[in-house]
Amino acid sequence: MAISAFAVSDATAAPSMAAKPLSHRLWVTAVWTLIGFFLINLIAMIAAVITSSFASRWLRSWLPEGATTKWYFSAWSEFQLDDVLVVTFQVVFAVTALSGLIGVPAAYAMARREFPGKKLIMLLFLLPMLVPPITYGIPLATVLYRSGLGGTMAGVILANLVPTVPFVILVMIPFIEQIDPKIEAAARVFGASTLRLFTSVLLPLLLPGMLAALLLVLVRTIAMFELTFLVAGPTSQTLVVALYYAVFAAGVRAVQSIDAMAVIYMAVTVVWLIIALRFVNPAQIVTRAKQTKAH
């Protein structure tokens, strides 16, 4: 996709360069101003949170009076962030591992076999990615509370699997389709058992795709607010839900303390995002669902 974009720029830039009317230049400037304005506001918004978290006192001025790191210590103890972070990582890693274990074999079957009802099953995997979490989260939370799983960590993990397993499947299907099945057939011909076929042939070939899919699941699960919020109890809150409650009860704690927690949340998310972006195109975070839907 990137290559075709370069080709366009070469082909279409040339004729438009030759005759460049004022209206065209104005239009281009307007569009870039729009992008610039959006990015400046976005960066300023994030910078405001970071500045506030280090502010000793910040009222009625452009910048705070002094810098301090004390809010990080107070946020850490006030919001019990050590417990919250442990829960967050337990939930996130459990969700990531389970969606890999359930999703990758399913994607393999979907990529390699044609069977009656395949379209219906594809729809079953597409729906949770298209319906927003708050819509199915409320009936899901009701069922989990009725079955005694509501408010527990198991419930939070189960709820988070609903969007992540289809996500892994939809990312992995095209990846598996481009692996030549003849490679597997050749391994069979040379007498490989199913286990050996899996460990020595399939797993190494699947690893890059799995890594990308699971890192994206990880980032999405850290940031998944709605489902965790609806299902979590006091001991199974993840960082983003704890942040929501802190902002919701603003006024009880110092603003800087909440901002310090927001910075910790940002740091946790961005670290994993940077790791993920080494393996995937940023647009993949958004467009995967659509690409599969398009055909």
Binding site: M1, S4, V8, T142, P282
Partner: protein, 298 residues
């Protein structure tokens, strides 16, 4: 291995295999079971539960929803936020995507834009609480340039929610649009340019007809996200007033009144409205395709 098995067993197994059901196909079963148990079943259960009200007849929940202005007005309030935001994001995303398509290095831009999507609505809400506040940097900058004389109120009203949906929604809409725009064969545009078509005319006659199906899907996905706005409507809006969106009503019914039956009914109404709008947009897309080719409007 199967030599000892009787003929009938073999034939069943072979018949299944001939239709594509063998050991490999069975690998989908855990995922299918999970989806049936945690997605389809809760929906059906919620649907059934919505007809089991705490008091009254079968349709008491739905009757209550459409009789109580505090409840039925949430539909209009949500649409009043979601539709303008989605249209604005989509209309801004199209020209931007056409510019960015020509960029050599898109990656830094897409990385920056992915940031608000990844950080999520809660963090954006917390950031905007600071940034849009009366003493925040936005109001200060506007006052510095003399655009306004006193701080504009952008928090705890309609505009707070609106702006937060622009911050998280625009990158989402843009990245989807970009993937559709770059998916169009550049040879088509080159052919039109060779024949002397100007940029505006190339857009109208080449790109737009090809883009409409993708834009319709982008509109649906963006709209559905905006329609289910929750954290920013509570944190940045006026959750008892103009931004009491339908998800707040559903949440309050479930977790403040503990009326899961009413909450399920509201969730079903929410899902139904989303379905109706998405269905309507996709039907319009069908009409557009069958209509005259020179229509040329978005």
């Amino acid at each position: 291995m199967s030599i000892a098995v009787d003929d009938e067993h073999i034939s069943t197994r072979m018949r299944l295999r001939a239709r594509g059901w063998d050991g490999v196909t069975l690998l989908i079963l855990p995922a299918v079971a999970l989806m049936l148990g945690l997605f389809i079943y809760p929906f059906l259960y919620g649907f059934w539960l919505s007809f089991q009200p705490k008091a009254g007849s079968l349709f008491a929940n739905y009757a209550r929803f459409f009789a109580d202005p505090y409840l039925y007005e949430t539909v209009a309030k949500t649409l009043w936020i979601a539709v303008p935001v989605t249209l604005l994001n989509l209309l801004a995303a199209i020209p931007v995507a056409f510019r960015v398509r020509l960029m050599q290095r898109q990656r830094w831009l897409t990385t920056l834009l992915v940031l608000p999507i990844t950080l999520g609505t809660v963090l954006v809400a917390e950031g905007l609480l600071n940034y849009l506040g009366p003493q925040g940097w936005l109001n200060r900058t506007l006052m510095l340039f003399g655009i306004i004389s006193s701080p504009v109120k952008l928090l705890h009203n309609y505009w707070g929610v609106f702006l937060s949906l622009v911050i998280t929604g625009f990158p989402f809409t843009f990245l989807l649009t970009l993937s559709y725009v770059t998916g169009i064969d550049p040879a088509l545009e080159q052919a039109a340019a060779t024949l002397g078509a100007k940029a505006a005319s190339r857009f109208r006659h080449i790109f737009l007809p090809l883009l409409v199906p993708g834009l319709a899907i982008t509109f649906c996905l963006s709209f559905v996200q905006a329609f289910s706005v929750f954290p920013s409507a509570v944190l940045l809006g006026a959750p008892a007033g103009p931004t009491r969106v339908i998800s707040i009503a559903a949440y309050q019914a479930a977790f403040e009144e503990y009326d899961y039956s009413l909450a399920s009914a509201i969730a079903m109404i929410m899902g139904f409205i989303q379905l109706a709008i998405v269905g309507g947009v996709l039907a319009l897309r069908g009409l557009f395709y069958r209509g005259p080719a020179g229509g040329g409007k978005g």
